[in-house]
Structure formats: C-alpha cells, structure tokens
C-alpha cells in the first residue's frame, strides 16, 4: 500500500517505468487509466510503424505517376492501373514480368538449395565427429563469414569474367581460359560473370559458410542419445545421419533455407555488379532501376506497386516463420 501512494507522486515517465513488467499481476486486471495510457503509447508506436508502409501502399493504388505534393496515407482511390502496368511491362526493355520473377525465384531457390545440401553434411561433421583437423577446418569455414559480400565481389568478378565462351573467326567454339582463338579475339557467346549462373556461384560463396555455421549451432543442441541408441541398434553413421539427424534438423533446415531465401530475394550488390543484360535482371534490380537518377522522372505509382510485389513474398514468409527465424538466428549466434 505504501508503494501505491508513493507512486502517485511521481511523474508519468517514472510511473510508466514502475509498471509491473512481469506479465503477471496475480489475477488483478489492469487499472483503466493505465490501460488507456498504454493504449495511447501502443497506438503512437503503431502509427509510426505503419506510416511508411501506408505511404507506399497508398501510392501503389494511385493512378497518377507523379508524387503527391501532400501526404496521403489512406488511399483515396483504389486503382490497379499501376499493378497492371508493372505486370504488363515492368521496364523500358522488352522483358516480361514473368521473366524477372523467374530470374529472382530461380536464383534465390537454387542458391538456397545448393548451399543447404552441401552445408548440412559439413555441419554434421563439425558437430558430431572429433578429428585431427577439426579446429583448423572450422576456422577456415568461418573466415569467409567475416567478409561482407562486397569484399568478396572483386576476385569473383575478375575470375568469373575470365570464363567466356567465344566463337572464333573459323566458326569454332572455344571456352576461355581453357582455349583461346588463334587470333586472340572472337565473338562473345557467353560470359559466366554476366549470367545468372555466375551470380549464383558468387551468392553461393557467401551463403554456404553461413549455412554451415547456422546448422552446426543447431545440431549442437540436438541431444546425442538418439544417435547413440541408433548405433546400439546397429545403424551405421550414414544411416543415422539420413534417418535420425536430418529429420530432427528439419525445422532448422527450413529456417536456414528461408533466411537465405529472404536475403537472396533482396540481393542487390552482386546482381547489380555482375549482370548487365536486361533479360537477366531480378525483381530487386528492376525496383532499383525504376528509382533512377531524378525523383521527378520516377513513375511513383508503378515503383510503389513493384515495391509491394517484391516485399510481399518476404513479408509472408517472415511473418509465418517469425518465431522460428528469431530462434534460429539466436541459437546460431550464441554458439557462433
């Protein structure tokens, strides 16, 4: 009772800090004045969170390409013109929306699957076996993680750029750097650097160490008893791996995959650096391409519609797997 009276004398900020934070008020319900105060704070935060989102959603439903001179947060009109235009002709180049979607999807999916498949066995080895070079090899896998993607981009650019398929003057096809045309020139048919394959390779280079690390952190938390029981029953290491460890690690495999997928879906650094052909563009690149140099030339409603389209898959995945993603990230980093 004494605390109650002393609380009343303090200013509202102190009172806010003084509130019971345990989520347990031993059955007592929240006093109305406090409920209202907290609701006001919550709504203010909600408004600040929703403000930029509503701004872009409202723009996307506008039929005008210009930027509104006044702030509009609730759509005055619901027009799907912008969405239709973006789906019909997303860029100035003759590239269909489906092509862009396919590029984005194939790239994110391919890199995610390859990285995961290769990473899981490595993670298992690090988590379960004791062997001579374990420490050294673990450090080796860890080293690339310290390098931001931009840092690894220079050598990858240079090396992938040397792999080119050329047609020589005598109509023969050569693959550099294995062979070159006699005159040293030739018509460029394919440049690995300037292709989805090349970007995929570069993205895998950064995705793979992360996947190994994230999966190892999780495998460490799986109790060994099940595997030991399987060994007693006569299962060899490979059988244990496929029939016990993989099924148990499924949730974390999914989380690692989706974390990667979200990142690859929004990947911009490597794609924008490597790719130059409009038919190879991804959705994220197209979005950046639309912003252009000058704010006045940006087709704002189409940009907004594209932004919503790019954001939607990521948003859905993230919200659906929110708990697992946060859990997966923190187990990974604690162990890392």
């Amino acid at each position: 009772m004494a605390t109650m009276t002393s609380e009343k004398n303090k200013n509202p900020i102190i009172r806010f800090l003084n509130m019971n934070t345990s989520g347990q008020t031993s059955g007592r319900s929240l006093p109305l004045w406090r409920q209202i105060l907290l609701q006001v704070i919550c709504l203010a935060i909600l408004a600040s969170v929703m403000f930029p989102i509503m701004y872009i959603v409202t723009l996307s439903f506008s039929s005008k390409t210009t930027r509104p001179s006044q702030l509009e947060l609730i759509p005055k009109e619901i027009s799907f013109v912008a969405y239709q235009q973006v789906l019909d002709k997303p860029t100035g180049n003759p590239v269909t929306f489906n092509q862009l979607l396919k590029n984005s999807f194939v790239l994110s999916m391919g890199v995610g699957v390859v990285a995961l498949m290769v990473a899981v066995s490595a993670a298992y080895a690090f988590s379960r076996f004791k062997f001579k070079l374990r420490e050294i090899l673990m450090v080796l896998v860890f080293i690339p993680l310290l390098m931001p993607a931009v840092g690894l981009s220079t050598p990858l650019y240079l090396l992938l750029n040397q792999v080119q398929v050329k047609q020589c003057a005598d109509k023969s096809i050569v693959i550099q750097p294995i062979a070159t045309c006699e005159d040293g020139k030739g018509k460029l048919q394919f440049n690995l650097r300037d292709s989805l394959w090349g970007v995929g390779i570069a993205m895998t280079a950064t995705a793979l160490p992360f996947a190994v690390w994230n999966l190892k952190g999780y495998l460490d938390t799986i109790p060994k008893e099940l595997e030991e029981a399987a060994a007693i029953d006569g299962a060899n290491v490979n059988q244990t791996f496929w029939q016990i460890v993989i099924p148990l690690a499924m949730p974390q495999l999914a989380v690692t995959f989706f974390l990667g997928f979200i990142g690859h879906w929004q990947e911009f650094v490597l794609t924008w650096l490597f790719l130059s052909q409009p038919e190879d563009y991804t959705l994220a690149m197209t979005l950046y391409n639309m912003t252009g140099q000058y704010a006045n030339s940006v087709p704002w409603n189409r940009f907004a519609a594209m932004a919503v389209i790019v954001a939607l898959p990521v948003a859905v995945v993230y919200i659906a797997l929110q708990r697992q993603i946060v859990g997966g990230l923190t187990t990974g980093s604690v162990k890392g």
Binding site: T21, S22, G23, P52, I53, V141, G151, A311
Partner: protein, 337 residues
C-alpha cells in the same frame, strides 16, 4: 581374437576418414568459389589491376606488382578520390554501428516490456504489426524515407513546419537533409563530422532496427519464471526495482548476442546507406562497404578494391574478436546464473 581386433582397427580407420568425407562436398565447392578467390584477392591487392587487364588477368604483360602501394594510398588518402579519408570513414562506420545498437536495444526491450503487460488489449495485433518494418526490403524502406526527408514534399519538413506553426512561426521549413554538409552539432564526433544526412539515416534506421530487438526481447521475457516476480513483490520490491533487478539481468543473455548481431548488421548496412544517401554528402555517411562497392563498380580500380577488401577483412576480424569476447563473457555469466 586377433582377427576381431584387426577388423575393429580397420573399422576405426574407416571411421576416422568419415568426417572428411562428410566435409568433402563443402570444401570442394568452397575451395573453388571462396578460398581461391580470397587468395586471388590478396595477390591482386599488390598489383595495379584495372579494366584493361580484365581479359588476361594475372597473365597480362602490363600488369605490375607494386608492393604495398595500394594499401599506402588508402591509408594516406592518396587515392584520386574527392573527400576520401580512410580513418574518417572507419571512425564514422564504428560510430554508426554503435549509435544504432545503443538506440535499438533499449527501445526494443522497453516496447517488448510494454507489450508483455498483462491485460493489455489488442496485444496480438500490436505484436504482429510491430514486426512489419523487418519484412520490408531495404530498398523500399530507403526510398520511402528518402521521400519523407525530401526538401519540398517530404513529411518531415511538413511536420517540422506544423510544429513551428504551433509555436507561432508560420514559415515553411526547407531543410536539405541529404545535401547540407554543415554538421548541425559541430564537434559532436571529433574527426568525423556528422551531417544532417546521418541524423536522417539514424531516424530511418531506428524505424527499421528496434522491431527485431523487440522480438528477441519478447521471447526472452516470456521465459523468465513468473515466481521470481511474485517472490520479489512479497519481499516488497516495487515495479521499478523488479525491472532493474529481475527483468534486465535475465534479459541480458538473450540481448547481448542480439546486440552483437545488430552491430555487425549495421556495420555492413550496405543496401540502406547506398540507396538513401549513396554515402553523401561529401562522403560524410560513407561506410567501408559502400566505398568498396564504389571502387569496384564505378571506379573499376580492381587492385585498390582488393586491397580495400583485405583491410575490411582485418577490421571485421578485429570486430569479431571483440564481440566474441563479449558473447563469451555473457555465456559464462549465463552458466554462473
């Protein structure tokens, strides 16, 4: 008996090779696409590699090994690039990451605590909505916030004008958030003046950053045993005392790794900075990663870019060793507690 022993031995030998077999695919792939490029990068960093050497690579006849010149050029600001000073960029980069984390973590914890209040209406809706900033692609976030800070149409200037009008100043506000090079608070960060663009980015990144911290804090809050609070209130502890003596210490093991994660994320926050300011004005908001990107994509000085990447790697290594120490310390703390 002897036979059994020898087969056991053979089996053991096979066993000892097994881990390497499991590692083989990963190391084969990483050898080609990660380790070889990393070594190549170090070699390139000692050369004057430029666009004209692209075709032949290391075999091109004009390629020269120039020793540590690239590194010295970077450290002594001898690169023919305007407004570039490595140590200023480095200092700003550290300050940027630190100042972000110091804002995001307390805000995340406070808001998570707020949403953990028992009996609060609409809790689920708030929790779902507050995660939205995390799921919007950085390019979209950056573009929206660039618009908000627009000189003529931006919401921020309109808001400031409204507040000004409230205090009897009817003039419209035209603050040039991304162009003004004069630091509003001179001498705030000695050596790396913070322009208005920094503050604009801080506001925008705050919007982006606290929800993640809040999600982590919510998870940790819900795992705190409730009898601790009951026991404390029986002993006569006020809500305030409970917050500082129970909630904060028990949140620490979860929040420190999250803060470390947030730090590395902000430290290399390429997308956001690149889209919002491009490192400007006058490179005052340039991060190490945005400058590295500039070197490869626009300037095409591959040798210098490689040297710069090697430097970034060393900086990242130092950061990692420090942050690893911090997380280790909390792990011990967790075990002790």
């Amino acid at each position: 008996m002897a036979v059994a022993k020898s087969t056991q031995k053979a089996r053991k030998k096979r066993q000892s090779n097994l881990p390497y077999l499991y590692l083989l695919p990963a190391f084969l792939i990483m050898g080609v696409i990660t380790f070889y490029p990393l070594i190549y990068q170090v070699i390139i960093s000692f050369t004057n590699f430029e666009s004209k050497h692209l075709l032949l690579g290391l075999k091109s006849p004009e390629l020269e090994f120039i020793g540590f010149k690239n590194y010295i050029d970077i450290f002594t600001a001898a690169l023919p690039v305007e407004n570039f000073n490595f140590f200023r960029v480095l200092e700003f980069n550290f300050w940027w990451a630190l100042s972000n984390v110091f804002l995001h973590v307390p805000a995340g914890v406070l808001i998570a605590t707020l949403l953990n209040t028992e009996g609060l209406w609409l809790k689920r809706i708030y929790r779902a909505a507050y995660i939205l900033p995390v799921v919007v692609p950085p390019l979209v976030v950056a573009t929206v916030w660039t618009n908000i800070f627009d000189e003529r149409y931006g919401a921020m200037n309109q808001l400031l004008a409204m507040i000004g009008g409230f205090f009897g100043n009817p003039d419209p506000v035209y603050i040039r958030w991304f162009e003004d090079v004069k630091p509003p608070i001179p001498g705030f960060l000695p050596g790396a003046p913070l322009t208005l663009a920094y503050y604009a980015m801080m506001i925008a990144n705050f919007w982006l950053g606290w929800p993640f911290m809040s999600v982590v804090a919510t998870g940790a809050l819900q795992s705190i045993p409730k009898d601790l609070y009951e026991a404390a209130s029986i002993d006569g502890a006020t809500g305030n005392q409970q917050f500082w003596n129970i909630t904060v210490p028990l949140l620490r093991p979860a929040m420190i790794p999250a803060a470390v994660y947030g730090f590395t994320l902000s430290f290399n926050l390429f997308n956001f900075v690149f889209f919002m300011t491009g490192g400007g004005p006058a490179r005052s908001t340039e991060l190490l990663v945005t400058f590295a990107y500039n070197l490869v994509r626009n300037l095409r000085w591959y040798g210098v870019a490689a040297a710069f990447a090697v430097i970034i790697f060393i900086v990242a290594l130092i950061v990692f060793l420090i942050t690893n120490r911090i997380t280790r310390a909390t792990q011990n703390y967790q075990e002790a507690g």
